[in-house]
Symmetry: C2
Subunit: 366 residues, 2 copies
C-alpha cells in the first residue's frame, strides 16, 4: 500500500490477532448473527487484516456492519436460498444477509460443482458487503483449484467522459496455488483507488495520486492533490476508472467495471445500482478444478516457474525488488501472526467502547 494510505507511525497500536478474532466474533453474535456465521465473519475480516489489506479488515467496515444490523438494514438470520441451479452453476438469493458471512459458503458451492464437472460458477444476489474479494478466491486455491471472486455495487466511479459517477469500484480477484513460493492472490478495484482511500488521505493529511478522482464536473485531475476533510466529495468522490483519463486508458478500467457488473449483477437477474440505487449487492464466484485441465503437479510447478522468473527480474531504481500479487500479503501474514495487527488508535478506541457497550471482552493490546 502506498505511503499516503498507511497509518502514521505515532498512531499505530498492535493488537493480538487471536484476541481480535474473539472480539469480532462476539460483536457479530451480539448483532444477532449465529455462532457459526459469526466465526466465519471474524475469520474473513481478521484474515484480511493479517494479509495487510487494512482497507477491508476490521478498521473500516465492521462499525458499518454493526450499525446496519442495529438499524435493521441487514438481516442477521438470513438464509441463502437457491434460486436456480444447473449441473455447474447456482444462482443464490442472499436474503439480505451480510456478504462476508455468505461468500465462503458460496465459494464452497462453486468448489463442489467444480469437483463434479470441472468448473463451478455461483452468483449471489440480494446480499451485503463481501469484504476483500480475494479472501473468497483463496478458498478455491486452498482446495487445489483456481478461484475467482468479483463483487459489484455502488455508484462511486465516473465512466470515461462522464460528468456524474455511475459504476461501482467493482473489484476483481483471482487466487491460484503454487508450491515453492507463496500462492498467487490478485485482488484489486477496477477504479484507480478504492473509495475509502479518499477518506484515508484526508485523515492522514497526505495527497492523492494523479488520476485518482475527477473534479466536480467529472474532469480527471491529473496531478497529485490534497483533500480537505470538510470537502463534500469525500462522500461522493467521483473516483476515476483504472487508467485515470481516456489518453491513459480509463476506458479499459471503465470497461472492466462493467465486465464485473454483468457477471455479478445482470447474470444473477438484477439491475446495477446505477439503475436502482436501492438494490443490494451482487457477487460472482468461480472455481476451476485444475485436474480437469492438466495435472495438478504440472500446474503448481509451472506457477513456481513463473513466480520465480518474476521475483528474479531486476528492478528499476524506484524499488528494491519486483514482486507478484500475493507475496507481500504472505509476508505481512507471517509478521502479523507473530507481532500482532497494527490498528489506528482510533479503531482500538472503537473496539473498547463497543465491547463495553456490548458487555464482551475487548481486544488484547501488544
Amino acid at each position: 500500500m502506498l505511503k499516503q494510505f498507511q497509518i502514521p507511525d505515532g498512531d499505530v497500536i498492535r493488537v493480538d490477532s487471536y484476541s481480535l478474532r474473539k472480539v469480532v466474533k462476539d460483536i457479530f453474535i451480539n448483532c444477532g448473527v449465529s455462532e457459526i456465521e459469526s466465526e466465519i465473519g471474524s475469520d474473513v475480516l481478521v484474515s484480511t487484516d493479517l494479509r495487510g489489506v487494512d482497507t477491508h479488515g476490521v478498521s473500516n467496515m465492521l462499525r458499518i456492519y454493526v450499525k446496519d444490523y442495529q438499524d435493521g438494514k441487514l438481516n442477521p438470520s438470513s438464509n441463502m436460498k437457491i434460486a436456480k441451479e444447473s449441473i455447474s452453476t447456482i444462482n443464490i438469493d442472499g436474503d439480505n444477509g451480510l456478504g462476508i458471512l455468505q461468500g465462503p459458503t458460496a465459494m464452497e458451492y462453486a468448489i463442489k460443482k467444480a469437483k463434479e464437472s470441472g468448473v463451478g460458477i455461483v452468483t449471489l444476489y440480494n446480499s451485503g458487503h463481501i469484504g476483500a474479494v480475494g479472501h473468497h478466491a483463496r478458498i478455491a486455491a486452498d482446495n487445489k483449484m483456481v478461484g475467482i471472486c468479483l463483487t459489484a455495487g455502488g455508484t462511486l466511479v465516473l465512466p470515461t467522459f462522464a460528468s456524474e459517477s455511475r459504476t461501482g469500484t467493482n473489484p476483481i480477484s483471482l487466487a491460484a496455488p503454487s508450491n515453492k513460493y507463496p500462492y498467487f492472490l490478485f485482488d484489486a478495484a477496477t477504479s484507480s483507488i478504492a473509495g475509502n482511500k479518499v477518506r484515508l488521505v484526508a485523515r492522514n493529511g497526505t495527497k492523492l495520486s494523479a488520476g485518482s478522482i475527477g473534479d466536480e464536473n467529472g474532469i480527471p485531475i491529473m496531478e497529485p492533490m490534497s483533500v480537505d476533510v470538510s470537502e463534500d466529495f469525500i462522500d461522493i468522490p467521483n473516483l476515476l476508472p483504472l487508467g485515470g483519463n481516456r489518453d491513459q486508458g480509463s476506458h479499459k478500467g471503465y470497461g472492466l467495471s462493467l465486465f464485473v457488473e454483468i457477471l455479478c449483477t445482470i447474470l444473477s437477474g438484477n439491475v446495477p445500482n446505477m439503475v436502482d440505487p436501492n438494490g443490494n449487492l451482487c457477487h460472482f464466484f468461480a472455481a476451476f478444478n485444475i485436474e480437469s485441465f492438466t495435472e495438478y503437479n504440472i500446474f503448481i510447478s509451472n506457477m513456481d516457474a513463473m513466480l520465480e522468473t518474476l521475483l528474479n527480474t531486476p528492478s528499476t531504481s524506484e524499488a528494491d525488488r519486483v514482486i507478484y500479487p500475493g507475496i507481500m500479503e504472505y509476508e505481512n501474514e507471517q509478521d502479523r501472526i507473530e507481532n500482532g495487527i497494527p490498528l489506528h488508535k482510533e479503531v482500538v478506541e472503537w473496539f473498547s467502547s463497543t465491547s463495553k457497550l456490548m458487555k464482551i471482552d475487548s481486544v488484547k493490546l501488544l
Copy 2:
C-alpha cells in the same frame, strides 16, 4: 481509437468488405489452409475491420501469418486435439495452428458445454495468434450467452518496478447480449496500449500518451512522447501495464496480465513466454448459459436498462457523449458495410502485390 493512432486522411483508401473477404480467404487457401478454415480466418479478420478495430484486422497481422506459413512456423493443416475433457471443460492442443482459425471452434465447444451444464470452459494451447479476442467472445453473445475470451503470449510488458519486460499484452474480452441497444463488447489489452501502437505513432509522426512505455531502464515515462522510427524500442517497446506507474495503479494492470496468463497458459498445462520464449500462444474461452442463472428476457432487459443509463449520462466538456464498450464498434460496422473499410494505402499496395504473386483477384477499391 485515439487520433494519434488513426490513419492520416490523405492515406486512406476505402475497400469493399465483400471483396476483402474473398481475397483474404484466397490468401489463406494459397497458404495451404483448408477452404472451411480459410473462410473462418477471413471472417474473423474482416469482421474485426468492420468493427473498427483496425489494429487487429487485415492491416497488421495478415502479412505476418502469410510469412509464418511460408517459413513453416505455422501448421496450415493443424488438427485440434482434445487433451483432457470433463463435463464442463475441455483442454485442447492446437497442433501449432493459427489461433484465429481455431478460436471460433473453441468457443463453439464452450457453448455446447454451457448448453448441457450451465457453463463451458475451453483452454487452447500450442496455438498461434488469435486476432481480436472480442470476436470470439461475441460468438457466445450471438448464442444467447455471456462469452469471455482471453489470450496470453509475448513478453512486451514491464511488471511494476521491473527494468525488463516479462508479461504479454494479455487482453480480456467479454460479450453480452442486449435487446434495444447494440450488444456489449469489451475487448482491451491489460497493458496501457497494444504493442503495434508504438509502430503506428512512429509511422504517423504523432505522440504516445503519458504512461504508455518505460524508458530503457524501465522507468515509466509519464509525459507524452514522440517515437523516432529508427529507435530500437519499436520492436521491444517496454510497454507499461494499464495504470502506467505504481502511483496511478500499474500494479493492477500487471496483476490483470497475470490473471490472464494463469487462465490461458498455466491452467492449460504450459509455462508463459517469460519462462519459455519459444512456447506457443494459449487462449481461454468461457460461455455462460444465461438461462441457467435467470430468464433470458430479464437479462437482456436489465442489460438495456444499464446501457440506457450509461448513454443518458451527461458528458464532460471533453466529449460529445458517454458511450459503452461495443456501441462505437456497432456504428463502425453500419458505416463500413455501406461505405467500405478504410485501409492505409500501403496496406492496399500489399494486397495488390500479394494477389499478383498468388495469382488471385485483388481487393475492390471504392
